[in-house]
């Protein structure tokens, strides 16, 4: 299992052909209290860079871009009643959706944990 990070502050953890996607702990800290998460439809075919989810805080609505191309295989249903999971556990139980990758070479363009840490420190 390997975890990758995007410059848009999404993380993706890949196991086999499936990736689990969420926003980073840094991102949730920037957003403040999350009030609602709008998730894509299961089965939706999406392309890398598409805006497919929205994370709302009180005063902002932030688009979440899929870091890879593929098909949405599962969404985190727990977020409907508990959007605060994205605040408290952004990189674990606050994941947003799972995606069946169609081209795992896209992962090469993403950062690893160390590179992302450096990236955030530079902001």
């Amino acid at each position: 299992m390997t975890r990758y990070f995007s410059e848009e502050h999404e993380w993706i953890e890949v196991e086999g052909e499936t990736g689990t996607v969420g926003i980073t702990d840094y991102a949730q800290g920037q957003l403040g209290d999350i009030t609602f998460v709008e998730l894509p439809a299961e089965g939706a075919a999406v392309s890398k860079g598409d805006s497919i989810a929205v994370v709302d805080s009180v005063k902002a609505a932030s688009d979440v871009y899929t870091p890879v191309t593929g098909t949405v295989s599962e969404i985190n249903a727990a977020l409907a009643d508990a959007p605060e999971l994205v605040n408290s556990d952004a990189e674990t139980s606050g994941w947003l959706f799972r995606i069946a990758l169609s081209d795992s070479s896209e992962l090469n363009a993403l950062m690893d944990e160390g590179a992302y840490k450096t990236f955030v420190e530079g902001l």
Binding site: Q30, G32, F36
Partner: protein, 532 residues
């Protein structure tokens, strides 16, 4: 991820701050600080504040009769008057003090306007009465229209839009209709990144794609960037002038010329017309369409969120597409209403109808009374005093509050500040809430987005110098406290009817209607708070 939470604030529950030494009262009220339950918590079964006749007939057969009356308790007149009067006292208002909300133009609302709007000849007239019985109403529309056209140097005005954003929609639909009439399809509208949110929202609502134009370091539209985006797919631009940084766009004419040369039209957001009314005619700058917020420049009351009115002045190029209904004056001076019935002959290119009736008549009478009161000379003085007041605030606080564009020259009718120089942890929001404790309504905060921690102050022309000096004194002291890291500002306001409210709770678990349940559990009464 794109945006961040600009305010980034959440109240610490249980934070009592100042006022915790308040002695509890039995009633829960504190002198003239009055608590008021919901009307539903006061109402009694069968109570009614209106005496009604006996019904004289039984219901006709075949009606789907309501099984039970709506579950809404009534109140008698004394209870009703008291309920709303007590509630009113929990509001700040322009009648109580300055309301310096940037880009909102909260000026004094003359009471003459209220009086004339209530003349039965205006207030008690049906929109579908035969024309012969509403000549006075049509003349009001026509007379106001003439003023708006003359003040802006335009060709025509569409009077029916209900508010600013509705006026934007009207203007963009005129542009679409004009482009379609040329047999072209252009589906992009350019909007500066400093624009008010209604601009891109309206463009999308009218079926356009929105592309953003960057601002220069001086807070103006980047003319070269704009030019580089013009092309055969661009229907037009939406420019706010004076812009949302409180600055006039000196390149307005060049912008308009470039847009026109590329086959597009110029929409101007007239929200800030108060700065230039009687001083500058937008028509002279190449504007094709501009809405006028009668509830800003022309003082119709804002009413806690409306109603507004958003007539749209139009250039000769766009006038043929104006919506129905339409009031016109014939050569003999007779006013006439153009509706669908005669539009085929009189106004064949109209894009159609965007409201049920004739627009905000009740706002037209008020705005006309305001305009007649000021006259051409007074309106010019309005703009001059509004700009003078804003510059006075700007220069009176710029040594303690960062003003990012102040070095480049005077502002127009509003002064823009940023949170630069505040101690760590103190924010624009803290200053705004501190102003509440000082007895003022805060300025517009976190808008425009092009400035960090923006504070946009629009005093308007109806503030006296003495009133401004009081406000400046408070703002200076708050700026000093924010620079010095005064943590007490975090828990402001302390003296308002409510402390900071938990907006996260409201958004996570929305409670939008009263369900009959008691107040949220764990919510203490004022008495209990006093005990802490």
């Amino acid at each position: 991820m794109t945006a961040t939470n600009a305010a980034g604030w959440r109240p610490a529950m249980g934070d009592t701050g100042a006022g915790a030494d308040k002695r509890p009262t039995t009633s829960g009220d504190y002198g003239l600080m009055l608590e008021e339950p919901l009307s539903f918590e006061l109402g009694g079964d069968g109570k009614c504040g209106v005496d009604l006749d006996q019904p004289e007939r039984t219901p006709l057969a075949g009606l789907p009769l309501r099984k039970a009356a709506p579950d809404l308790p009534g109140l008698t007149e004394p209870e009703t008057v008291r309920h709303y009067t007590r509630l009113s006292r929990q509001n700040y208002a322009i009648d109580l003090g300055p309301f310096p909300l940037g880009s909102c133009t909260m000026k004094h609302n003359p009471r003459l306007n209220e009086k004339v709007a209530r003349l039965p000849g205006f207030a008690d007239v049906h929109p579908l009465q035969p024309q012969q019985s509403v000549i006075g109403a049509l003349e009001v529309i026509s007379e106001l229209a003439d003023w708006l056209v003359t003040l802006t140097g335009m060709s025509a005005v569409a009077m029916s839009p209900k508010a600013g954003a509705h006026g934007e929609l009207c203007g963009l639909l005129c542009i679409r209709a004009a482009i379609e009439a040329r047999g072209e399809t252009r589906d992009v509208v350019l909007v500066p990144e400093s624009a008010h949110g209604t601009n891109p929202a309206t463009a999308a609502f009218a079926g356009f794609k929105v592309e953003s134009i960057p601002a220069t370091a001086e807070g103006r539209v980047d003319l070269e960037a704009l030019k580089s985006k013009l092309g055969p797919n661009v229907a037009g631009v939406m420019i706010t002038n004076p812009n949302t940084c409180g600055l006039f766009e000196p390149d307005m004419k060049a912008i308009a010329d470039a847009v026109h040369a590329a086959g597009g039209y110029v929409y101007c957001d007239g929200a800030n017309f108060n700065a230039v009314v009687g001083k500058v005619r937008p028509g002279d700058l190449g504007v094709d369409a501009m809405h006028i917020n009668l509830h800003k420049t022309f003082s119709t009351p804002h009413g806690g969120g409306g109603p507004g009115a958003g007539p749209v002045v139009l250039s000769e190029a766009l006038a043929p597409y104006a919506p129905l209904p339409f009031v016109t004056r014939d050569a003999d001076g007779q006013v006439r209403l153009i509706e669908e019935e005669t539009a085929g002959e009189d106004h064949p290119s109209t894009f159609g109808r965007m409201v049920a009736f004739h627009g905000q008549m009740g706002m037209f009478t008020r705005a006309l009374a305001y305009i007649l009161s000021h006259g051409a000379d007074g309106l010019r003085q309005v703009a001059e005093d509004a700009v003078l007041n804003a510059n006075y605030v700007l220069r009176s606080v710029e040594d303690v509050l960062n003003a990012p564009f102040a070095a480049s020259g005077p502002c127009m009718h509003e002064a823009l500040f940023s949170d630069q120089g505040f101690a760590d942890g103190l924010s624009t929001l803290d200053v705004a809430k501190g102003l509440i404790d000082e007895g003022f309504h805060p300025m517009t905060v976190y808008f425009p987005l092009v400035v960090h921690g923006a504070m946009l102050v629009e005093p308007t022309e109806t503030e006296s110098k003495a009133g401004l000096d009081r406000f400046i004194g408070s703002l200076r002291s708050l700026a000093e406290r924010a620079r010095n890291g005064d943590e007490a500002l975090h828990s402001a306001p302390h003296y308002a009817p409510r402390r900071r409210l938990d907006e996260t709770l409201a958004a996570r678990k929305p409670v939008l209607v009263w369900k009959g349940a008691p107040a949220p559990s764990g919510s203490p009464s004022l008495t209990e708070i006093g005990d802490r």
